[in-house]
Symmetry: C2
Subunit: 317 residues, 2 copies
């Protein structure tokens, strides 16, 4: 049975394998949280590019507040993958999205890194089950999927594969959370995880509209940024719908707007609004809004919307 | 040939037909922009509910800045629809989403309002062609679709029906823009317009995931609000993708992530990435980003992201 050799809160030495936009973003994030980072990337000029990326991100991280002792001097660029991970207490892999490449790289990391440490993969949508096949210690391999840029966007989706030990998933959840991330732990492998599936649905509908001449790129961008996109930093689709129901909340919204699920308002067909789906929505909405009144939620929504509108206005957006 | 009887910039008297969440939101918006509003709604307690809604919205509108002379005293509640619209210079209809109800109401408004004024409908997705059938002056009927809450979210989608005169569409575009709205004019009728199609695709994928037990309501909400949702107030899906391509922009992103369009990352299939779709995306992305460098856009994105993160932190989100 696999057991972690280091506690999530004790991790100081992190290895980042792959130092492009995502890997480099992880490097900047971990440095800003006061950790030491050893990075490796096969590109010949990877070290210089990585330092430029970290330098570009640093003012933003300073503005948000660095952890005690955080410094860019804690970055080392290793000459080989094996050197990078040899004494790491956590490894984040951020190679290009290619199943064969990632599986091979994870096997190399697994062979070179201490067996009691967790290895997270930044994959955008592959199942860990499909990537851990060649590993000797697959128990400690997890998906830790970030969003761009990883030094600012808090979300990380964590999920293990069939051969991942539950303790490694829990360890990763705790570790990422301790570095300031907002973590979703999935208990099953779904291609694209959760957030990418949602944004991919929106993206594909946008591509269809563009392809059919129904909207231009500029119209699609404005439709999001001047419209529903303004609410999405604080209300997801379920809370939005719950508020659209007024005092009756989600239940009223489903009665009122439910028929629209059958309208051709996107190319994606809706599931049937069965009793159990309805119940999951009503219960879930009450839970995420903590049973608060619609009037209260509306006041809070408006305060947040105004904060977002004013903040963007102040930075000239 | 239809001609407007009042210039968009000269409109002072606005009638709002339907005073629920959306209609009431429009009332608050127009009052805050210094206009006089006459509202009508068939509900027995509509006047009281409307005044409570406007009172609740007013502090937010004061924070954002009222127009000169804006006051809640400019609100009148009319006893009949006909009285509300008799001397209006613009009418906004916001009845419940029911095609027969809306068509009938628009016909009544059309019969009672001066023939040279524009009438806008808040419909979430009906085609004006299907709603204007019974009107005597269908030339001045347009869709003016807002987002909740209409007193804070700037987007309005404007589109005419087959019998709408082009001059009425242009008039509505100018009028809404002058009241501070961000307007998208569509040159063809697409069910759900643009923004609702995009958010509906996301919503339906969320419903599928919930229905299949792949995600909970809480996970869906966090996936959006802690992840891609943080970028959506300033970057739509195309700009996001353009930046994901690094210095190579959209073209590189399509080469790199294009294959993911065939992955089962949502239940919505993608259109084929043809040469013309690729060209539309590359050209469109360059246009909306004004040909600026990725480095420049990333600096700006980070500034905006930090502004949003800090603003939400300050209001306790």
């Amino acid at each position: 049975m696999w057991q972690p050799s280091v506690a999530p809160g004790a991790v100081d030495r992190i290895a980042c394998v792959g130092a492009g936009v995502i890997g480099g973003g992880w490097v900047a994030h971990f440095l800003a949280r006061g950790r030491r980072v050893t990075a490796w990337d096969p590109a010949p000029d990877a070290g210089d590019r990585l330092r430029r990326l970290v330098d570009a991100a640093w003012p933003a991280l300073e503005t948000l507040g660095l952890a005690d002792g955080a410094t860019r001097d804690n970055l080392t660029v290793a000459a080989t993958l094996e050197e990078a991970v040899a004494d790491a207490e956590f490894v984040q892999e951020s190679a290009p999205e290619d199943l064969g490449l990632k599986s091979g790289l994870l096997a190399r990391i697994d062979a070179a890194a201490p067996p009691g440490i967790v290895i997270g993969s930044s994959t955008s949508g592959y199942r860990m089950t499909d990537m851990q096949a060649s590993a000797v210690h697959p128990e400690r391999l997890v998906v830790g999927h970030p969003f761009n840029p990883p030094y600012l966007v808090p979300l990380v989706e964590v999920v293990g594969g069939e051969r991942t030990h539950r303790a490694a998933v829990t360890w990763a959840e705790e570790f990422y959370t301790l570095t300031g991330k907002t973590v979703i732990v999935m208990d099953r492998e779904v291609p694209g995880f959760i957030a990418n599936r949602l944004q991919e649905a929106l993206w594909r509908e946008a591509l269809h509209m563009l392809d059919a001449g129904e909207a231009t790129v500029a119209q699609i961008e404005t439709a999001v940024t001047a419209g529903p996109g303004l609410r999405w930093p604080f209300h997801g689709p379920c809370t939005t719908f719950h508020l659209a129901g007024g005092e009756g909340g989600m239940a009223h919204a489903l009665d009122h707007f439910g028929p629209a699920l059958e309208y051709p308002w996107t190319r994606l067909a809706s599931p049937a609004l069965t009793g159990s789906l309805r119940e999951a929505l009503v219960t879930g909405a009450a839970q995420v809004t903590e049973g608060r009144s619609t009037a209260d939620l509306i006041t809070e929504r408006d305060r947040r919307l105004i904060a977002v509108l004013r903040a963007l206005r102040e930075v000239g957006a």
